[in-house]
């Protein structure tokens, strides 16, 4: 896993930006190794709301930092991810769309947890929660740090959304 971005972060950088650097690194690595897709990241923005999506897979953090990370994708992108992740037919992938998105979020959150552990944080992660629908939005509480990391997988626009409380405040 590349850690160039994480190593480049100065020690006085806000925690949310430190985590975003890790998020970009690990998400790129996970899409490359697990679904054999190259993803291209755009510039992160440090504000909400959570991007609109059909499939939102969320994993929570608790410990010296608390918050959550969500993988937000369209249903078409979620199906492509499931199919590539499973190495299976579209029929089989359909059955696993939610869990595949959850596993991707779990790997992203777990890998960021490892990166943050190496920086001295102590973190636990929750089991993934996946929300699927066509017309819904979610919002973090006020007074939190937020970051939206947009990226592209082929024709699909995807997002990783990070919310941090406590030490993560900017």
């Amino acid at each position: 896993m590349s850690t160039a971005a994480t190593k480049a972060v100065a020690t006085d950088t806000p925690m949310v930006e430190v985590m975003v650097a890790s998020l970009v690194d690990v998400t790129r690595d996970i899409f490359s190794t697990m679904v054999d897709r190259t993803v291209e990241f755009g510039e992160p923005t440090y504000a909400g709301p959570q991007p609109t999506a059909n499939v939102v897979a969320t994993v929570g953090y608790a410990g010296t930092l608390s918050g959550y990370v969500s993988l937000c994708v369209s249903k078409e992108a979620a199906l492509e991810i499931a199919q590539a992740l499973l190495g299976s037919s579209a029929d089989e992938a359909h059955e696993h769309v939610r869990d595949a998105a959850g596993e991707m979020a779990n790997m992203i959150a777990g890998s960021v947890r490892t990166a943050m552990t190496e920086k001295g944080e102590t973190l636990g992660i929750s089991t993934p929660i996946v929300t699927v629908g066509t017309d819904f939005s979610t919002a973090a509480l006020r007074d939190v740090s937020q970051a939206v990391c947009p990226f592209k997988m082929g024709p699909h626009n995807l997002f990783v959304y990070l919310v941090l409380q406590g030490k993560g405040r900017r």
Partner: protein
């Protein structure tokens, strides 16, 4: 060669089983948690066990300790596949009796290398 795959996520089991099949390992048995895996082991000893860490009922290290407590399974190779990648996690797993460790995300080549290494005859 028979591989027992233990993971509470049916999707992750499917990912691992499909990868194993592509690598030529068609004979797989699946279990959704440690207790189910112990029942499967009572029915037959596999050539290698691939297990997750975070599972209900009995987590990965607890499952491996239960495996190692049975003389018939004392030398069965165990590969832990997990996102738990901190050094202290690896130490806990090794102390429980895990033979090798594969951190998610993993490539099919990495899984192949670990399985081949664990099942290679001396």
């Amino acid at each position: 060669m028979r591989v027992l795959v233990v993971d509470d996520s049916s999707t992750m089991r499917r990912i691992i089983v499909n990868t194993l099949k592509k690598l030529g390992h068609e004979d797989t048995v699946e279990a959704g948690d440690g207790k189910e895996a112990l029942r499967a082991l009572a029915a037959g000893v596999p050539d290698v066990i691939v297990t997750d860490w975070n599972m209900p009922e009995m987590n990965g290290p607890q499952f491996v300790e239960a495996v190692r407590s049975q003389p018939a399974l004392a030398k069965t190779p165990v590969l832990m596949v997990t996102t738990q990648a901190a050094k202290e996690d690896v130490i806990v797993a090794l102390q429980a009796g895990v033979n090798d460790y594969l951190i998610k995300p993993f490539t099919p080549e990495a899984l192949k290398e670990k399985i081949n290494s664990l099942t290679r005859k001396p």
